[in-house]
């Protein structure tokens, strides 16, 4: 039985995350960063919330790798902190949502092992923010792939992991994320807090699915191939709806999308899929913001922060790599999700 919590418990964690959210980089900070060169960006980032991680990684790495690993380390620390400072229902829901990073870490370890990457480098790409801690992953990294799979015996992920070797790794990755969402959606909406959480998850599934449909459509994938990648349990985009959309040609599909919550007159014609995906991310973020302000004493403001923190990290990575390779500012800005 999940501890239901009360208004005071929600008020505590929401106020705390609101203060944390106020420390995220603003749109004008990103505009300032766009006009800096790579070294100036590292210096600037090293004076913000990321100071500790930039200092820690500074002696091991240089260039965009330093930025990458410092950002991931900070993301992990921030997410772990959220779990540590929350209690009751909020702790349970945050931890459940962050199990996504267990899947991320597992994929990183497997991919690293298969590519023969050094254990220390795999270690630095991990974001131990989920159910499993860093020590657990450290023991996994030194084992071989079969033993890593065996460590997950008895968990829902084992079924997908046991196909390693006989199936394509990207398919197994899709399968792992499907299992993650399936397990989350198994939670029963016993109270309002849980219902809001499950709606949030379903909406996230919608966004992931529509991006998958459009990306695969652009690659001329068949309806069946698309359906294999669809995550069941969407909010409005159910499996049947997704099947209908997957079978349509692109222009008809765009018309059929009107009326869905995630469709706000997005210009698809002549746009790269990556740019369309950014539009969906922006709609997703503004929808979460609206719902979080409608239900201020709930898990939504916390999840909003979790999403915004990830967006900030992604933006800084795009900025770092873009600057490192000398891309023009306009191009870097187009790739970033700035609201």
């Amino acid at each position: 039985m999940i501890y239901r919590g009360n208004r005071a418990a929600w008020a505590y964690i929401v106020a705390r995350t609101k203060v944390m959210k106020s420390r995220l980089l603003k749109a004008e900070d990103f505009r300032k960063l766009l006009n800096m060169d790579f070294d100036e960006i590292i210096r600037y980032v090293g004076e913000t919330e990321y100071k500790r991680e930039v200092d820690e990684m500074g002696y091991k790495y240089t260039g965009p790798r330093l930025l990458d690993y410092a950002l991931f380390a900070n993301l992990a620390r921030t997410y772990r902190k959220l779990i540590e400072v929350s209690f009751g229902a909020s702790k349970f829901l945050i931890a459940k949502y962050l199990e996504k990073w267990d899947v991320w870490n597992l994929i990183n370890i497997l991919r690293g092992k298969m590519a023969g990457v050094q254990p220390e480098i795999i270690e630095d790409t991990l974001v131990p923010a989920g159910e499993k801690d860093f020590e657990f992953y450290k023991t996994l990294i030194v084992r071989d792939v079969e033993e890593v799979v065996k460590a997950f015996e008895g968990t829902p992920y084992y079924e997908a992991l046991s196909k390693i070797g006989s199936e394509d790794m990207s398919k197994i990755e899709d399968e792992l994320y499907k299992i993650y969402y399936r397990e989350l959606l198994k939670l029963s909406p016993s109270d309002f807090a849980m219902k809001l959480f499950l709606d949030f998850i379903r909406m996230e599934v919608d966004i992931r699915n529509i991006k998958t449909i459009l990306r695969l459509k652009a690659d001329d994938a068949t309806a069946e191939e698309i359906m294999n990648c669809i995550i069941p349990g969407g909010y409005e985009l159910t499996e049947d709806e997704a099947r209908k959309l997957a079978a349509m040609p692109l222009d008809e599909l765009v018309k059929a999308l009107e009326g869905y919550w995630f469709w706000k007159d997005i210009e698809i014609e002549g746009k790269e899929v990556a740019r369309v995906e950014i539009e969906f991310d922006k709609i997703w973020i503004s929808t979460i913001a609206k719902r979080a302000s409608n239900y201020p004493l709930s898990i939504l403001p916390v999840l909003q922060y979790v999403v915004l923190k990830k967006v900030e990290v992604d933006n800084l990575r795009i900025l770092g790599w873009g600057k490192w390779y000398g891309l023009p500012n306009e191009e870097i800005e187009r790739q970033m999700v700035i609201l």
């Binding site: 208004r7 005071a8 418990a9 008020a11 505590y12 964690i13 929401v14 106020a15 705390r16 609101k18 203060v19 944390m20 400072v85 004493l297």
Partner: protein
């Protein structure tokens, strides 16, 4: 004589209820505000003063209760 004592007793009960119920109400209000204030202060000490200020706002209702209690005790 007996009636006088009964009236005085009821007035005392009324005064007690006025302060007590106002206190419970203020406590309920303060629980959420106090929790939020502690949360914000834990992240940023600059919120300490503002947090205290917001937390004691529901206390005003206890002052109303206290005034009613005084009126009951001394005006009758």
């Amino acid at each position: 004589m007996v009636e006088d004592a009964l009236a005085k007793g009821l007035i005392a009960v009324g005064a007690g209820l006025a302060v007590g119920l106002a206190g419970i109400g203020a406590g309920l209000g303060e629980s959420g505000i106090g929790a939020a204030a502690v949360g914000a202060t834990a992240e940023d000490r600059g919120f300490f003063g503002l947090g205290i200020l917001f937390t004691v706002i529901p206390e005003t209702i206890v002052i109303f209760g206290l005034v009613i209690a005084f009126i009951l005790m001394f005006a009758f």
